[in-house]
């Protein structure tokens, strides 16, 4: 982040939010030509996988695109999980995405989807490790678009 301090200890009375600079990838294909992946900060993972540390966790879990929803669960320290425990599609709409692939609305469901625990954790690690690692996996699997939830 830019160093904004001119006089040490002096703080503006006016709250000025600093938003990061824009990022943009051009859409090159029609939806019906796209391989689509989900990425969710809602703490979704395989039941057989390691739980997230509810106090803060920068790691992520891979979720195969053909996983039945009854093999998925949530561990997250920051929101009411009543709805997602009834139907994980509330936050991880994988059944809906599979249906859209079957109907031809999109070309296909990506082989790997990503679950992580947003809303906290080590932001530096998210910037330097989690974000780039997740992007690398999706890029290697030639994903054309990513739909995220949470936030």
């Amino acid at each position: 982040m830019t160093k904004m301090t001119v006089v040490n200890g002096l703080q503006s009375e006016i709250y000025v939010p600093i938003t990061p600079k824009p990022v943009w990838a051009q859409v090159e294909k029609e939806l019906k030509e796209m391989r689509v992946a989900l990425a969710t900060a809602a703490g979704v993972h395989l039941k057989t996988d390691k739980r997230f540390n509810l106090a803060g966790d920068f790691t992520f879990r891979k979720i195969p695109g053909d996983t039945p929803t009854n093999e998925l669960m949530v561990s997250h320290g920051g929101y009411d999980q009543a709805d997602v425990n009834k139907d994980i599609n509330c936050m991880f709409p994988i059944d809906r995405l599979r249906e859209l692939a079957e109907s031809g609305f999109i070309k296909e469901v990506a082989p790997t989807h990503i679950g992580f625990m947003g809303g906290g954790g080590d932001q530096k690690k998210f910037n330097e490790y989690t974000g780039p690692e997740v992007a690398k996996i999706l890029k290697e699997e030639q994903v054309d678009a990513v739909l995220l939830t949470a936030g």
């Binding site: 029609e30 709805d83 609305f105 890029k139």
Partner: protein, 83 residues
């Protein structure tokens, strides 16, 4: 949003379904939609296949339609969780 921005920076277009649009705006999400949903059910009411399908289809269409970074599009779906 850090992860969304990282994926977008790698050249893959992204869109987020947000329950908290101001947070999304502040953290620099390139594309976002905002149905009226609580945290915990961004993609719609549990077991409401029609609502979830509508939200996902509209979201994917906005991936194509949003013209420039930072736009948040309201979606006309509402789910009030009974707590």
């Amino acid at each position: 949003m850090i992860v969304q921005r990282a994926i977008e920076s790698a050249g893959i277009p992204t869109i987020i379904i947000a329950a908290l649009p101001p947070v999304v705006r502040q953290s620099g999400s390139p594309r976002a939609v905002a149905p009226i949903v609580p945290m915990g059910a961004n993609a719609g009411e549990p077991n409401n296949i029609e609502m979830q399908t509508g939200i996902i289809k509209d979201t994917l269409e906005q991936l194509i339609q949003i013209p420039s970074a930072g736009k948040i599009v309201s979606l006309n779906y509402e789910y009030n969780a009974e707590v």
